[in-house]
Structures are given as structure tokens and as C-alpha cells.
Assembly symmetry: C2
Homo-oligomer: 191 residues x 2
């Protein structure tokens, strides 16, 4: 088991319906030392890529992206989930379906910060059905930015997102891939 | 001028209505090296305080809080702007009025991660009328957590928030305090 898998076993909580709660260290309370370790691991896994920007989506992804951007020495861009007044009108927009909340939402990035010269590393906390990630890929596609890779903290390997995105040809590096979890016996099986 | 004031002059944009856009380095695109410098500065300014947790509010505050938590070696907690299903019901709640969007929204933290043993350093990107900050203070008050200080990136010194919060007895350390800004002449006067 790697450091993230150990943390999931120690501090994650399995809820019925294949819900994994990691709000004690990743998406409500955050363990920044763990985030640093994760960012260092992505640095190793994408060491052959020439990356000039990190892209993520608010909110939890921002912690991961900021630390990775710091380590790689490149700026971070986070897609916004609402078109706030100070974002302006010159934006790329993508639709993201949320299965958890049964909604379709738009995400936005300003055209000022994503363009055809960008070599993007996308990071996010979770990969399950892949909808958020497809939205971020769509933004990069619209901007003609090149996606060099995708760093994920926790992938639900029993959902279709990871396969779908890898089948599109992207290098997806998930630090923990869960093959199955059992809320009754409190067991998690990692790939 | 300090490093943040220089960055504001170089890359900030003044819009009519006392709007300062810093989305090229702080709240859409993020410069993580700058964030690191800011966190180091807060570490110096609060060096006499015994801090065991950083509290912020999504989304932009997460970048600042994560870096500061990393440097201080303490966990980070970010208040959520919506009561997502995985937050649970055992939450502290506060109201935050947004003058920008003319709305009243609730913010939430789980009771699991804020309690009477906590010595909190609050950080956020902006302080203007102080509404978001008052919401965070209210969460800490409900949890009986002690607020040791407040670190702000950019304070609009011509709005009442800074005075209001300092009058309550809190140590507020804003890295750039704007006394006036002029969208016609593109001039910013720092305190």
C-alpha cells in the first residue's frame, strides 16, 4: 500500500452506495503534508512531460493543484462552477453532469488563461464516472491547449471514468485506485 | 512596496465601481510561488501564536490556506458554500451576505473538524465589507474555537470590514491594504 492508500484505510469512511468519505484529509479538512506527498508523486510520474500549467476545478482540486504548481514552478488555473461577475464574458464553457446531485452544471475558464501554447496537467481529487474530467478536457480542447496528463488522487476503479479517459489516449495517474469497497465489512480493495 | 503590492500594480486590473481584478494570479489563475511568499509572510506575522488549524472559505482561499498549513505543519479546513450530501447533518452554519451578488448564502463546516480545542488562523484572499470573515468568525464562535488571528491577502481599506473586525479585537494581517483606487487613471494607493 502506498501513503495515500494507507491514509484512506486509516481515515476514510465507507458509506452505503459506494460513497467514500475523505473529508478528514482531502475535501473538507485537508492534510497539506499529504497533499505535498501527492504532488511529489505526480511530479515523478509526469517527469518526462513538458508542463507549463496545472488545471483543476473548484473547490477541493485547488489544494492539490496549488501544491503541484508550486513544486513544478508553473501557474495554476481552476475552472469555476459559476459565472461570477468578475470572470468576464470571454470564457470557455463546458457542461458537467453530476450523478451525485443529479444536476447538469456549467464550468468556466477565462480565455485569457488557456490557449494553444499551453501544455496542461489536469489534477483532481476524485475520478468516478469521469464527467468533471470530460468537462475539463472539453475546455482544453476548445482552447486548443495540449493535455499532457491527468493526475487523480482517488479513482473509483469500479466506475467507468478511468477506462473511458484512458481509452481516449490520456495518461491518467491515479494515486489510489479502488477496485471495490464494502460498507458492511468496512473493506476496501485497491488495484 | 512589498511583493504583493508590486504584483497588484503589475498584474491587477482596476474596473469601475472599485473592483480590483486579480484573476491572473490569485482567484482564477494562481501564482503558487506568490502564494508561498504570502504564506511565509503570515508565518512571520503570527509567529507568537500557537496555531493548530487554518480555516478558510472556498474557493480561492483554499490555495492560500493549503500553503500556509503546509508551512506551519497544521491541517486546513475550508467552509463550504453549499451543504453537499457528503457533508452530513452535524454542521455549524453561518449566514454570509454578498454585496457583489446581492444574495445571502449559508456557509458550513462539519462539527467533526472544529471544536473548543482549536486555535485557528483564518485566511482569505479579500477583505472588503467583512461579511465572509464575520461568517467564519461566527462558525468559530459556535464551535468555541479560539481565533488567534486573521491573514488577508488584499484588504480594501476604504471599506468598513477591516476596521469592524479589528474593533472586535482580532489581529488582522493584510498583506496589501488599498486606501484608494482610480479606474480612470489606473492608480492604486496603498496604506
Amino acid at each position: 500500500m502506498n501513503f495515500l492508500e494507507e491514509e484512506i484505510i486509516k481515515n476514510g469512511t465507507i458509506k452505503p452506495g459506494n460513497v467514500l468519505k475523505v473529508d478528514s484529509f482531502l475535501n473538507h479538512q485537508i492534510n497539506p503534508q499529504l497533499v505535498y506527498e501527492m504532488a511529489k508523486e505526480w511530479q515523478i510520474r509526469f517527469k518526462d512531460k513538458n508542463i507549463n500549467k496545472i488545471l483543476t476545478i473548484e473547490a477541493s482540486g485547488i489544494a492539490l493543484a496549488t501544491m503541484l504548481g508550486y513544486i513544478l514552478g508553473v501557474p495554476v488555473l481552476f475552472a469555476k462552477k459559476s459565472k461570477t461577475s468578475n470572470l468576464g464574458n470571454d470564457v470557455y464553457k463546458a457542461e458537467v453532469k453530476s450523478y451525485t446531485h443529479n444536476t447538469i452544471n456549467n464550468i468556466y475558464v477565462s480565455k485569457s488563461y488557456l490557449n494553444e501554447n499551453d501544455h496542461i496537467l489536469i489534477v483532481d481529487d476524485f475520478l468516478a464516472n469521469g464527467c468533471a474530467l470530460l468537462g475539463l478536457l472539453s475546455l482544453c480542447n476548445d482552447a486548443k491547449a495540449k493535455v499532457e496528463g491527468i493526475g487523480i488522487a482517488i479513482e473509483k476503479g469500479f466506475q467507468e471514468g478511468g477506462k473511458k479517459i484512458r481509452d481516449l489516449g490520456y495518461q491518467v495517474e491515479s494515486l489510489a485506485i479502488i477496485d471495490s469497497m464494502d460498507s458492511f465489512n468496512k473493506k476496501i480493495k485497491f488495484r
